[in-house]
C-alpha cells in the first residue's frame, strides 16, 4: 500500500510493521537479510518451548483481533492440553470495516507470519497450521502462497525443520466473504467445511477447536509480534505502551482527516495526537466524533479525545477493537452513520440467533424511518430498548457488538436523534427528509 510513509520516530514505533515497505515481500532472501527466521532458529536450537510462553506472557501481548485476551495464557492453555493432535490457526479474516492492518502485514511481510506460526506450532505442540484468509484479499493470498512455497523450499516448513526433528505444515484457506467467520468458532466451523456459524463456548477452542482438537486461534497482528519479542526480549517490547497494554498497536486512520492510512503507535496514545500529528488535522470542518474499532466499536465524542487508546480504557467507553479510527467532521450525521453501520450488520448476521437475525433488521428499519423523516419518538424509544436487548441476548460477538454505535450515538448525540424523530429534521443536513412526515400514510404502529 502506498499509504505507508517513512517512520516518524517521534510518534511511531514499528514492531509488527518493521519490514513492511522495506523488503521485497516476494523474496525470502530479503526476509532473511532482515533478521528473518532468526528467532525460529534460536528457538529450535534451545528446544525450549516453555521459554516462548514465558516471554509472551512477560511481554504482556494481548489479542489484536479486538478482544484483547492475554496471548500468553491462550498459548499456555493449548500447550498444556493433553491431546495427540493440535492445530494452530491464524485468523486473517480481517473484515472489520475500515481495518487494513492485517492486510498490510500479509502483503508487505508475509514471511513474518509464517515464522510466527511455526514458532506457535512448536510452542503448543501442533504440527499443522491454517491461515484463514479473508476472501477478498487477493494480493495477500498471492504473496502468502508464494511465501509458503519459498519457505518450504528453504526447509522452514515441512518435515524436520532445519534438522531439528520438528515438523510443521502450513495451509492457506480463503474465506467466502462472511464477516461472521472472523468469530473464532464460526471460523473453525467454516474451516471444517460447515456453514460459518458460531458454536457454544465453552468448550473454548483451546480445549476443543478445529475437528475437536485443542486449537490456538490468533490474529495476524498478534502473531507477528512474537518473533521480535523472542529476539529482543520482553523488556524491549514493554519499553512502550501502558502497564495494562504494553507495546504497540496498528491503527487504521480514515475519514475526515488530511492524511489517511495505517500507522503503528505505542498503546496509550490519545486520539487527539493521532488525528493532529498523524492525520494532520480534521478535514472539512470541526471534529464531531471518532468511531473507533470498526463497525462493532464505539463512538469517541470530542470531550474524550485525550483519553489513552488501549485495551483497558474500553471500560471507560473508548473501544479500541480492531484499531480502526473513522474521523467524522461536523458535516456528518450521526443517525446516518448509525443507519449505515446497522445495514452492515443486517447483511452480515449469520441468522443463527433470533436477536441478531431479526433485531438487526428491525433496528435498521427503524433507523431508516428516522433518516427519511418518517420516525417518531416512539421509534426512538424502541430503538434504545431493542438495541440494548440485542446486545444483551445475542449468541456471539457479532450481535453483542452490533448495537454499539447506536447505543453510543444515543448516549452522546441524543439531541440529534430527537431532531430526526420528533422534528423530522437532520441538523447536519445529510438525511434526505421527506417534505412531510405524512407524505404517505404511515403504518399504524408508527403513530407515536
Amino acid at each position: 500500500m502506498s499509504t505507508l510513509q517513512p517512520e516518524n520516530p517521534s510518534i511511531e514505533r514499528r514492531i509488527a510493521l518493521q519490514r513492511v515497505g522495506r523488503i521485497d515481500p516476494e523474496s525470502i532472501d530479503d526476509y532473511l537479510a532482515e533478521e528473518g527466521f532468526v528467532a525460529l532458529r534460536q528457538l529450535l536450537q534451545s528446544a525450549n518451548p516453555d521459554s516462548v510462553i514465558e516471554a509472551v506472557t512477560t511481554a504482556g501481548v494481548r489479542g489484536h483481533g479486538g478482544a484483547g485476551f492475554p496471548t500468553g495464557r491462550k498459548w499456555y492453555f493449548v500447550a498444556k492440553a493433553d491431546a495427540p493432535v493440535k492445530y494452530v490457526v491464524c485468523n486473517a479474516d480481517e473484515s472489520e470495516p475500515g481495518t487494513l492492518k492485517d492486510r498490510l502485514i500479509m502483503e508487505g511481510d508475509p514471511f513474518s507470519l509464517i515464522e510466527a506460526m511455526i514458532i506457535a506450532g512448536f510452542t503448543v505442540g501442533a504440527t499443522t497450521g491454517f491461515i484463514y484468509l479473508r476472501g477478498e484479499y487477493n494480493l495477500a493470498r498471492h504473496r502468502l502462497e508464494n511465501a509458503i512455497r519459498q519457505a518450504e523450499a528453504a526447509g522452514f516448513l515441512g518435515r524436520d525443520i532445519l534438522g531439528s526433528g520438528i515438523d510443521f505444515s502450513l495451509h492457506l484457506h480463503s474465506g467466502a466473504g462472511a464477516y461472521i467467520c472472523g468469530e473464532e468458532t464460526a471460523l473453525i466451523s467454516s474451516l471444517e467445511g460447515y456453514r460459518g456459524e458460531p458454536r457454544s463456548k465453552p468448550p473454548y477452542p483451546t480445549q476443543s477447536g478445529l475437528w475437536g482438537r485443542p486449537t490456538l486461534v490468533n490474529n495476524v497482528e498478534t502473531l507477528v509480534r512474537i518473533p521480535p519479542i523472542l529476539r529482543h526480549g520482553a523488556a524491549w517490547y514493554r519499553a512502550s505502551g501502558t502497564a495494562g497494554s504494553p507495546g504497540t498497536q496498528i491503527v487504521t486512520l480514515l475519514g475526515d482527516v488530511n492524511w489517511r492510512g495505517v500507522v503503528e503507535v505505542p498503546f496509550g496514545i490519545s486520539t487527539r495526537r493521532l488525528i493532529d500529528d498523524v492525520g494532520q488535522g480534521v478535514k472539512g470542518g470541526a471534529l464531531k466524533l471518532v468511531q473507533s474499532g470498526g463497525s462493532s466499536g464505539g463512538i469517541i465524542p470530542p470531550e474524550w479525545l485525550d483519553l489513552p487508546l488501549d485495551f483497558d480504557s474500553g471500560r471507560a467507553g473508548v473501544v479500541l477493537g480492531s484499531g480502526a479510527l473513522l474521523v467524522c467532521n461536523a458535516h456528518r450525521c450521526v443517525v446516518d452513520l448509525t443507519t449505515v453501520v446497522m445495514a452492515f450488520f443486517r447483511a452480515e448476521s449469520c441468522g443463527k440467533c433470533v436477536p441478531c437475525r431479526v433485531g438487526t433488521v428491525e433496528l435498521h428499519t427503524l433507523l431508516q424511518r428516522l433518516t427519511e423523516g418518517r420516525g417518531t419518538l416512539r421509534d426512538l424509544s424502541l430503538l434504545e430498548t431493542m438495541g440494548a436487548m440485542v446486545k444483551r441476548t445475542s449468541f456471539c460477538g457479532l450481535g453483542i457488538t452490533a448495537p454499539n454505535v447506536l447505543l453510543d450515538g444515543l448516549r452522546h448525540f441524543r439531541d440529534e436523534y430527537i431532531a430526526h424523530a420528533r422534528d423530522h429534521r437532520c441538523p447536519a443536513a445529510v438525511c434526505a427528509m421527506q417534505d412531510s412526515a405524512w407524505g404517505e400514510l404511515p403504518h399504524l404502529a408508527t403513530v407515536g
Partner: protein
Amino acid sequence: MSTILLTIDDRKVHGESGETILSVARQHGIPIPTLCQLQGASTFGGCRLCLVEVEGIAHPVSACNTPIKAGQRVTTQSPALRADRQMVLELLFAERNHYCAVCVQNGDCELQSAAAQAGMDHVRCPYLSPSLPVDASHAQYVLDHNRCILCMRCVRVCAEVEGAHTWQMAGRGIEARLVADNGVPWGESTTCTSCGKCVHLCPTGALYRKGASVAEMQKKRGFLLRILEGRELGRTGEEPTDDFLVPTVEIRS
C-alpha cells in the same frame, strides 16, 4: 463424573459435572422456556428464550449450553428476563407471517404457547411481512416458510437421528431459509426418507402433514344419498354397486 451443588431460584439443587443449567433445572421441576432445544438432539442455542441470570456474569446466558458450576447462583425469572424473552418472541412474530387463526398448528404450537406463557400480548416492532413460498411438492408433507422460526430441530434430527441430511440452512441473516438437498423442492429430494421426524418435532406449523391444514379437509357430502340408496338396495336384496365411503354405517331395514 462428580456431583455439583448450585442454587437455582434460591433452591439448592445438584447435578453432574458436564450437565447444563437447563437440564438440572428441568430435573428439579424448575421451568425455563425453550424453543430450539430438543431432547435427543445436539444443542443449538439460537432461540435465546432460555436466557437466565448467573451471579457474577453481567449479561444473561442461555441455559441450554451453559454448563453448571459449583456454587453457581442462577435466576430463571426476573423482570429483565421476562422483558428480554418477550422481545425475542416479538421479533419471531415480526420476522415471518405467523397468523395463528389460519395456522394448522393453532392450539398445539410451541411458539404460540411460549408467547402466551411469556405474556407477550402485542408486537412493538414493525412486521416484516416477507413474501415466502409454501413447498407442497412432497407427497405427504408440506413446508411452509411463513411459519419457520429457524430453530434447526428438523436439520438436527434429520442429520443426527435419521442420518439422511436432507435439511440444510441456506442464505444468511434474515435471508436464511430451510432447504432440502441444498435447494430442490422437498418432493424432489433424493435423500428424504419421508420418515416424518422433522414434521413431528417442528415446534410450529412450518412442517406439517398434508390434509391437516386449514380448509384442506374435504367433506364427503355424497354419503347421505348413498346410504339411502343402500337401504333401497337392501330392501330389494341386490348387492350395492357403489363403494360406500362411510363404511361403518350399518344398514338396517
